[in-house]
């Protein structure tokens, strides 16, 4: 069980950094709100969702086995992990917002609304990317200090 959790934690961490790289693509590509990048947007969001789902899967065991030990030995790092949790919610939510806005552009016929959705999608991916960089960095710091 411990080995499985340790493996899942490592996979979660690696997927997290891959998600950062994947989110950078739409965040850069969609600067032009007319630009369409459905595959990039879908794959980046899917990677974020899978990473988040994996994190949510191991989170109850983290709370039961690791969290208290981190707070006892390095409280500052424990609070950093709390920050990571909160910002990870943002990474997921903003990636979903960006994806829905981008894929939904085809539902709008008015050019102004399409441009607005394009801008919205770009902003959401930029916010998601910024938070993802912080989340992934904190994740490495905590995981290198204590694991399952």
């Amino acid at each position: 069980m411990t080995l499985a959790l340790r493996v899942l934690e490592r996979v979660h961490g690696h997927l997290g950094w891959l998600a950062v790289a994947a989110l950078a693509h739409p965040a850069i590509l969609l600067r032009d709100p007319r630009r369409r990048a459905r595959l990039s947007v879908s794959l980046a969001t899917a990677l974020v969702v899978v990473t988040g789902g994996l994190g949510a899967t191991i989170y109850p065991d983290y709370r039961a086995r690791v969290k208290q030990r981190i707070f006892l030995e390095a409280p500052a790092l424990g609070w950093m992990f709390e920050r990571k949790e909160h910002l990870a919610v943002g990474v997921l939510a903003f990636a979903l917002v960006g994806c829905a806005a981008h894929l939904g552009v085809t539902l709008c016929t008015e050019p102004e609304a399409r441009l607005s959705l394009g801008r919205l999608s770009h902003r959401a991916f930029v916010v998601s990317l910024l938070m993802a960089v912080v989340v992934a960095s904190i994740g490495v710091a905590v995981a290198s200090f204590k694991s399952f």
Binding site: K67, M80, H86, V89, L117
Partner: protein, 102 residues
């Protein structure tokens, strides 16, 4: 009556944006006004606060969706502009809560 897809999309976006906003407000309220046990002294608890906040956020997002839908039916462009601004505001709110009130 046929439902228009663009206002439905705006409602979905509004609901998705409300989730992190509600999450940040709930956590901010907890950090400021409720007395929490020191994490170093608690082994574990049955109630996972993060999941609870997400569930409440999803519920509030579901309540906000019809309001955004009505607003988008009335004026789609203004509603989308509001959502554009909302992305930045919610991002700033969650960033502030996440860094200052963990």
């Amino acid at each position: 009556m046929r439902r228009q897809p663009a206002p439905l999309l705006a409602a979905l976006l509004g609901a998705l944006l409300v989730v992190p906003a509600a999450y940040a407000l709930l956590r901010g309220y907890d950090a400021l006004f409720s007395s929490e046990a020191n994490p170093a002294t608690v082994v574990t608890s049955l109630r996972i606060a993060m999941y609870w906040r997400l569930a409440v956020g999803a519920y509030v997002g579901g309540m906000a969706a019809p309001l955004v839908y009505l607003a988008a039916r009335r004026d789609l462009f203004r509603t989308l502009r509001g959502l554009e601004l909302g992305v930045l505001l919610v991002g700033a709110l969650l960033l502030a809560q996440g860094t200052l009130l963990p």
